[in-house]
């Protein structure tokens, strides 16, 4: 009676944990919202299924053989000097090698298909975004729209986004788990990331490379809007009369995270190149 109730409670708790677990996983690639993350999720599933087959013989054989050949089981065979079999040798070397060869083709193709530098195929031109990693915030510059934002990346749904990254400080890594994998941002160098959102929504973005005491606060939202809303947002920002002037520029390099995202109605030309060059100059 009490035992069954206890068991029920245990199941209840386990179910609760699993439910909350699904909540947590909704923040990640399992809840993909763009073509890159979707392919990555498919790859997870494919490789995962293959690996279940690779791992299960060990998980089954280890306890079974250990238990069957236990000392107290006098009915099991005992061949203390048996130590080799070509047939077993074949099975432990060849199938794993074959599986690795098979997986290698998969790996080669997917690594090229999902190369972060590879532009997405689309009938629309990619939206250029330049991301600058700072302590402890991200600056996103839209060079064609001549606007910028701190700790907020607004993108149009369906259109490919081409992000160029650099750092105004130490190395960081940009990750938006529901849209695409991460890439490092390094001072004086440019890296690239291509991604797209296939549905409107707000996606968490973050720096994953530790960079000091404000690291944990270096999060931002990626907001995917319908193309018309995106154009509205650009117009709205342009009209806001809050340019990225000299004072705002100096502020970028203060070690802090702004409490709210900041949008800039205009940016100096070649701002990204300026930060890139500045990092390489003597401090």
């Amino acid at each position: 009676m009490t035992a069954s109730r206890g068991l029920l409670r245990l199941f209840g708790m386990a179910a609760l944990v699993l439910l909350c677990g699904c909540d947590a996983l909704k923040l990640g690639v399992m809840n993909h919202a763009g073509p890159i993350a979707t392919s990555q999720w498919h790859l997870y599933v494919i490789v995962g299924i293959v690996l279940v087959f690779v791992a299960s013989p060990v998980l089954l054989l280890t306890p079974l053989i250990a238990w069957h050949y236990r000392l107290s089981n006098t009915s099991s065979a005992f061949r203390p000097n048996w130590q080799f079999s070509w047939i077993l040798e074949f099975f432990i070397w060849i199938p794993p090698t074959a599986i690795v060869i098979g997986l290698s083709f998969l790996l080669w193709n997917y690594t090229h298909a999902l190369d972060p530098y590879r532009p997405l195929t689309s009938d629309q031109p990619a939206l250029e975004v330049q991301a600058v990693a700072l302590d402890w915030k991200w600056l996103f510059i839209y060079p064609d729209e001549r606007v910028a934002a701190i700790d907020q990346m607004i993108i149009p749904v369906g259109r490919p986004i081409h992000i160029s990254l650099t750092s105004g400080t130490v190395m960081q890594a940009l990750l938006i788990p529901r849209l695409a994998g991460q890439i490092y941002a390094m001072a004086g160098m440019t890296t690239q990331l291509n991604l797209a959102a296939s549905q409107p929504g707000t996606y968490l973005g973050e720096n994953t490379q530790f960079n000091g005491t404000g690291f944990q606060n270096e999060k931002f939202n990626v907001i995917a809007l319908a193309p018309a809303e995106f154009a509205q947002w650009v117009d709205h920002v342009r009209g806001s009369a809050h340019p990225l002037d000299a004072a705002a520029y100096a502020d970028l390099f203060r070690r802090s995270s702004p409490p709210q995202p900041i949008a800039f109605s205009s940016v100096p030309p070649a701002l990204f190149q300026r930060i890139l060059a500045q990092s390489r100059e003597p401090r």
């Binding site: 998980l59 005992f78 080799f84 070397w93 794993p96 290698s104 390094m186 530790f210 944990q216 100059e281």
Partner: protein
């Protein structure tokens, strides 16, 4: 309160607020009080250890029997003591971090960001350099010469110097708790974050010099072991007759020789940047941190196999012994070990797939990474087939081996996922990665070392460890591991970055709680090991195995008394097969007294090792704090010690044939008196270390 006048020259960068007690007094936050508490524990621990030694008048004993000893067995034991001390500290740090993350969900928690960052940096650095490395160096030191039928390692003095360099470096890690602060740059110390421009304090300097001393010690250890295995094997011990543990020791040593120097170079270049204004890895003036990443992981990936291979060796010994069976596929295992060692140098880029290199490079390194899975899988199957048609006894070392095989496979599973660059992009730098490498290193290193500790403890000290507490501890290590790390896979897949002091997603809460409970269970596991040692020492008289062969062992290490005499073997053995002692028990009398003994020459104690270690640490401490006088004096003393030692002529001691005969006679008489026991009672006090041979 800045020092004035003469003081800057004497105290360097030291100011009063470098002391955690002063900081805690000025800002009594939970974080600072924990820091001051940790410093107090170090001081109280050191003072009470010294006080106890003085109280019991054991100072001379300790100095002449242990600290200056060149006996490989004692050096091995000292390494393992160091490993346990450092394990305790780093495990407590891990628990603090887990509790912080569980507490800090939309809440700053009890640890300040800077303190949290020091904790993950010291936790990683200690676990790798001052827990894992000393543990495996200690185990190899103790076991390997016995297994190859040698009286010592090739270079006994160098062995002591390596131990003391490692010890000095560990001391520096401890000093960073009491004076100043540690690096916040993680165990990998990536610049430019660790450059002066971003981390001007003493923290990265502590890291640089501790790692540098430790890496020099490990390089020397590698050379020592490799030469020992090449040159000191007893007659008949061909390479293909060496126990598997010796093979893994050899491969690990070769890896140490080739992989530790890139680390020493990387830390040295970083030191040049920080001390002399060079620009190897700075952002400006042509520096490039990508060179550091390559150098570091050129060390870092082989390091993974430096850590894991010796554990593989332990499992090979343990599974074979406790299944009363020849090792299945010896040649396969040797080939697999060598293949892993070689391949380990071809995969380092997978630690930074996300650095922007092109897809061809990432794909090649990804495939190389998966390839390592093949020989590793072969090894697991070889152990499974070793149990096949055997008589498996579920002793503590065997339980660790079984838990390892099941758990390591899961780590391999996620390892193959991470080997796919597109999948790595998503979970790199997240808790998924943290879960993966703990999933490899806890079963693949810690369980192996603990299995080895339980397996060879009776050989080292002459009595068996308590079985019940061993099982409790084992249970805690396994349950604790699963609870602490499986949730991290979920959290990482959900995008939670590693090294995060505060968490802003309430959905993470249940997983962080489970992981926190797991960490506490792991702490119980360590506590049970301490209790086990205590109980075992108290019950030692009931569990003596002086005859030396408690498990019906196979290798030469079991053919001596427990503990073995200082000279290991009165007469160097001659071997005719892979399991020499096992065969001799079945085909003859391994305890037949020898007709004649000869004088045995052994190395005399030397204080060179302790002097170099202590003054090496002093030099490093001087460099950290810019106390140049201390650094110069330390360096001069080291040079003087080396010069002085090179003039020493009286460096050997002779154990006379008479004495050897007395020692051997005492042991052989004990063997005659001992009752031989069958395997099913080997965990009972009736086990006096003499195996009953069925045929």
């Amino acid at each position: 309160m800045m020092p004035q006048g003469i003081w800057p020259a004497v105290l360097g960068r030291f100011v009063w607020t470098s002391l955690p007690f002063v900081r805690a007094w000025e800002h009594p936050t939970a974080s600072e009080i924990i820091g001051a508490g940790a410093a107090s524990i170090v001081i109280i621990g050191a003072v009470s250890t010294v006080a106890l030694i003085i109280w019991f008048g054991k100072w001379r004993f300790l100095w002449s029997e242990w600290l200056t000893s060149l006996d490989h067995k004692k050096i091995g034991i000292m390494y393992i003591v160091l490993a346990f001390v450092m394990l305790s500290r780093a495990l407590i740090e891990a628990v603090l971090m887990r509790l912080q993350q569980a507490a800090a969900i939309n809440n700053p928690g009890f640890l300040a960001p800077d303190h949290f960052a020091q904790l993950f940096s010291t936790h990683g650095s200690i676990m790798i350099f001052f827990m894992a490395m000393p543990f495996l160096a200690g185990l190899i030191n103790f076991v390997m010469p016995l297994q190859i039928g040698s009286r010592d390692v090739a270079f006994p003095l160098l062995n002591s110097i390596s131990l003391w360099l490692t010890g000095g470096a560990a001391g520096l890690m401890m000093a960073s708790l009491v004076i100043g602060e540690f690096s916040t740059g993680g165990w990998s110390g990536y610049p430019p974050y660790t450059e002066l421009a971003f981390s001007p304090g003493v923290g990265p300097d502590y890291w640089i010099w501790a790692v540098t001393l430790g890496s020099i010690g490990s390089t020397l250890t590698g050379i020592n072991f490799a030469v020992t295995i090449y040159k000191m094997r007893c007659p008949g011990m061909d390479l293909m007759r060496m126990p598997l543990f010796v093979w893994t020791a050899l491969c690990t040593s070769i890896l140490m020789i080739f992989a530790m120097p890139p680390l020493t170079v990387a830390t040295a270049l970083l030191a040049l940047d920080r001390y002399l204004g060079f620009h190897f890895f700075t952002n400006d003036l042509g520096g490039n941190m990508m060179n550091y990443a390559n150098l570091f992981w050129l060390f870092g990936h082989p390091e993974v196999y430096i850590l894991i291979l010796p554990a593989f060796g332990v499992y090979s010994e343990v599974v074979s012994t406790f299944s009363t069976k020849d090792l299945y596929g010896y040649t396969s295992l040797v080939l697999a070990t060598a293949a892993i060692a070689l391949l380990s140098f071809t995969v380092w880029v997978h630690h930074f797939f996300t650095m922007g290199q092109n897809a061809n490079i990432n794909a090649v390194f990804g495939i190389a990474t998966m390839t390592i899975g093949v020989p590793t899988g072969v090894k697991i199957y070889d152990w499974i087939w070793t149990m096949f048609r055997g008589e498996v006894r579920f002793t503590v070392p065997m339980l660790y081996s079984l838990a390892f095989m099941m758990t390591f496979v899961l780590g391999g599973f996620t390892g193959i996922l991470l080997a796919f660059p597109p999948l790595d992009y998503l979970v790199h730098n997240t808790l998924f990665l943290v879960a993966h490498f703990h999933n490899m290193l806890i079963p693949g290193l810690l369980y192996g070392m603990l299995a080895g500790y339980h397996y060879w403890f009776p050989k080292a000290f002459g009595f068996r460890l308590n079985e019940t507490w061993g099982r409790i501890s084992f249970g805690c290590w396994v349950v604790g591991f699963y609870l602490a790390f499986m949730p991290l896979y979920v959290l990482g897949a959900a995008g939670l970055a590693r090294r995060t002091q505060e968490v802003f997603e309430t959905a993470f809460r249940p997983w962080l709680y489970i992981a926190g409970v797991g960490a506490l269970i792991l702490l119980c596991a360590l506590a049970s090991l301490v209790v086990q040692l205590w109980v075992s020492i108290r019950q030692r008289d009931a569990n003596r195995v002086f005859a030396g062969d408690p498990w019906d062992g196979r290798g030469l290490e079991w053919s001596t008394s427990a503990p073995p005499p200082e000279y290991n073997f009165a007469i160097l053995p001659r071997v005719h097969g892979r399991d020499p002692f096992y065969d001799r028990k079945r085909n003859g009398d391994p305890y037949a007294p020898s007709g004649s003994y000869h004088d045995i020459v052994i190395p005399k104690n030397s204080m060179t090792g302790p002097v170099i270690g202590v003054f090496g640490a002093a030099t490093a401490f001087g460099l950290v704090w810019h106390m140049w006088w201390l650094a110069i004096i330390g360096l001069l003393v080291i040079i003087a010690a080396v010069v002085a030692r090179s003039f020493a002529r009286d460096v050997h001691e002779i154990i006379s044939a008479d004495k050897v005969e007395r020692i051997e006679g005492r042991w052989l008489r004990a063997v005659v008196k001992a009752t031989s026991i069958p395997r099913k009672v080997e965990m009972k006090p009736v086990n006096q270390g003499l195996a009953r041979v069925s045929g």
